[in-house]
Amino acid sequence: MKKRAIIPNLILALTSILCLVPFLLLIASSFTDENALVLYGYSFFPKKLSLKAYQYIWQQGIVIVRAYGITVLVTILGTGVGLTITSMLSYPLSRKDLPFGKIFAFLVFFTMLFNGGLVPTYLMYVKYLHIKNTLLALIVPGLLVNSFFCMIMRSYFISNIPDAIIESAYIDGANEFKIFTKMVLPLSKPIMATIGLFLGVNYWNDWYNGLIYLTETKLFSIQNVLNRMISDAQFLASSNLGSTVNAGAIQLPATSTRMAIAVVTILPIFVAYPFFQKYFIKGITIGSVKG
């Protein structure tokens, strides 16, 4: 039995390493001396180590701290509001006895099949709702309520909340909203955690809304800063207008700084991953069950 598993173990171990290796190169290059990087190129084993990139980020701290703050704020607000709206929409749709429920379910489902595309969406948000260069631009478009999540949650409610307890609570005099908050939600912690986690990761990783709806760099999330840095390595220095540190500051180590900011961006996910990976993996399998 054990002998047979050598080859599977070997292949899976190699695949796992392949998944991890790019991150190691990123981390190694962020600790590489700028001149060594330019002269000898990116390497897993830097010719000369240096902490300059991180020192530089530390000096330019305020830009990074603000971007981080915006990412955290957007993630918390978006996940909280999104989860509330999603569950309040999914639960009524899961009730077989709700008149016209199927019509509403179809309206939600249809948005997965057909959409107006970027142009009308962009024009509506920018010209009519004036969302450009506001914090709402990072929260609302596309991300807040996801009809796919709604359908997953609905099928969870259908198969996990017995009709009998709803009916008996109603007979005992509870109204429908109370039944939802006092009976249904406590029974639905797993799905709430799963969808919340997915929403949170979506918000943490989002750069698309910022790319489209933001020109004001003060509102940039950490992903937007990273996105801008790839084409404009001087971005940190140029956007830090209020700082007086620049005069005597160390010269910008452009290449390694970019890599260091990428490291700083993924660090929280890497730190938190061991704690939430169990739920994440479970969530993916829940999601594959069609609604």
């Binding site: 599977p8 509403f104 099949l113 107006g116 309520v145 990783n205």
Partner: protein, 319 residues
């Protein structure tokens, strides 16, 4: 829907519906925020598809601009771009489906051979790790390998192979189909692998024990038990991707090639084309025409692929 039809028949039942509404109005109230969001975020933009048939002039407003019929579409399809972006979008999606499905099934079968639960968990979480990272970070990872002084050029090509100069990856279109397919597999295989693995561990162990008694070898069990039994899951996942064949991951085609113009011929897809036409060129006519083209053909593809599956095996159809 049949239930509602019956409920509307006869006054007695109409009265019962009124009673129902009295009980259920709170449920309707709860749905309002979500429905308003979908109305704004999804349904209003759908109605904006008419923009493609107008010559948009902001002084006249969106509604006041002149109708020009199919002129925007004529411009779009007369250009080379329409062919290139359609070809790229479809071919990449087909390649993704084949490559990712094959790798994910292989990995999930291998995962099923592992006995130690701790190792299974370790492999799973490492293979899933790239799925958690945003495409911007992925583009940095790729840059570290493919930069002029990146790992591949400096260590492998000039170092190990001893060639004088490296390849300037970001200006040579011919390499990008492989790079894009590889990066996409690297990022997304973990997700599929977990779905297929869950489907494999759902298979009753009785089948395998019976097969072992009959002297079946490992690959025979895979061939005659595992693969036939995970087929429904595979079909569902492939169908989901086929339905999205006219759409692509914007980040993969915009961030990873770093928006480099020299390689548009193999990296431009409908989504990146619409974005560039709208945001970078402010060409609303062209971008909305391409958007309508994508929405309408994409919708037909979803309906079509679902129809095929309904005919083959009804329980796997999405609707």
């Amino acid at each position: 829907m049949a239930d509602e039809g019956k409920a509307l028949r006869g006054k007695k039942k109409q009265k019962r519906t009124l009673q129902k509404l009295k009980r259920y109005y709170m449920l309707y109230l709860m749905m309002i925020p979500g429905l308003i969001y979908l109305l704004i975020n999804n349904y209003v933009p759908m109605s904006g598809l008419y923009l493609a048939f107008k010559n948009i002039d902001f002084r006249l407003g969106l509604l006041g601009s002149d109708w020009i019929g199919f002129k925007n579409f004529e411009f779009l399809f007369r250009s080379q771009d329409a062919f290139i972006i359609t070809r790229n979008t479809i071919l990449y999606n087909l390649a993704f489906i084949v490559v990712n499905t094959v790798i994910a099934i292989m990995l999930s079968i291998l995962l099923n051979e592992i006995i130690s639960i701790r190792r299974i968990k370790l492999y799973q979480s490492l293979i899933l790790l790239p799925y958690l990272i945003s495409m911007v970070v992925v583009s940095y990872l790729v840059l570290a390998f493919l930069n002029t002084k990146g790992f591949i050029n400096s260590t492998i090509i000039t170092g190990l192979l001893g060639r004088g100069t490296g390849i300037s990856w970001y200006s040579e279109a011919k390499y990008w189909p492989f790079i894009i397919i590889f990066v996409n597999a690297w990022k997304n295989v973990g997700y599929l692998c977990i779905i297929y693995y869950a489907s494999i561990i759902g298979i009753s162990s009785d089948y395998y024990e019976a097969a072992s008694l009959d002297g079946a070898r490992m690959w025979q069990k895979i061939r005659y038990i595992t693969i036939p039994l995970i087929k429904p899951t595979v079909i569902t996942m492939v169908l989901l991707s086929l339905g999205r064949m006219f759409y692509s991951d914007f980040g993969l085609f915009y961030q990873v090639p770093m928006d480099s113009g020299a390689i548009y011929s193999t990296t431009n897809v409908i989504d990146t084309y619409v974005y560039r036409a709208l945001i970078q060129l402010s060409d609303i006519g062209m971008s909305s025409a391409a958007g309508v083209y994508q929405s309408v053909v994409g919708f037909i593809v979803v309906l079509g692929s679902n129809l095929v599956v309904r005919k083959v095996s009804k329980e796997n159809a999405l609707f």
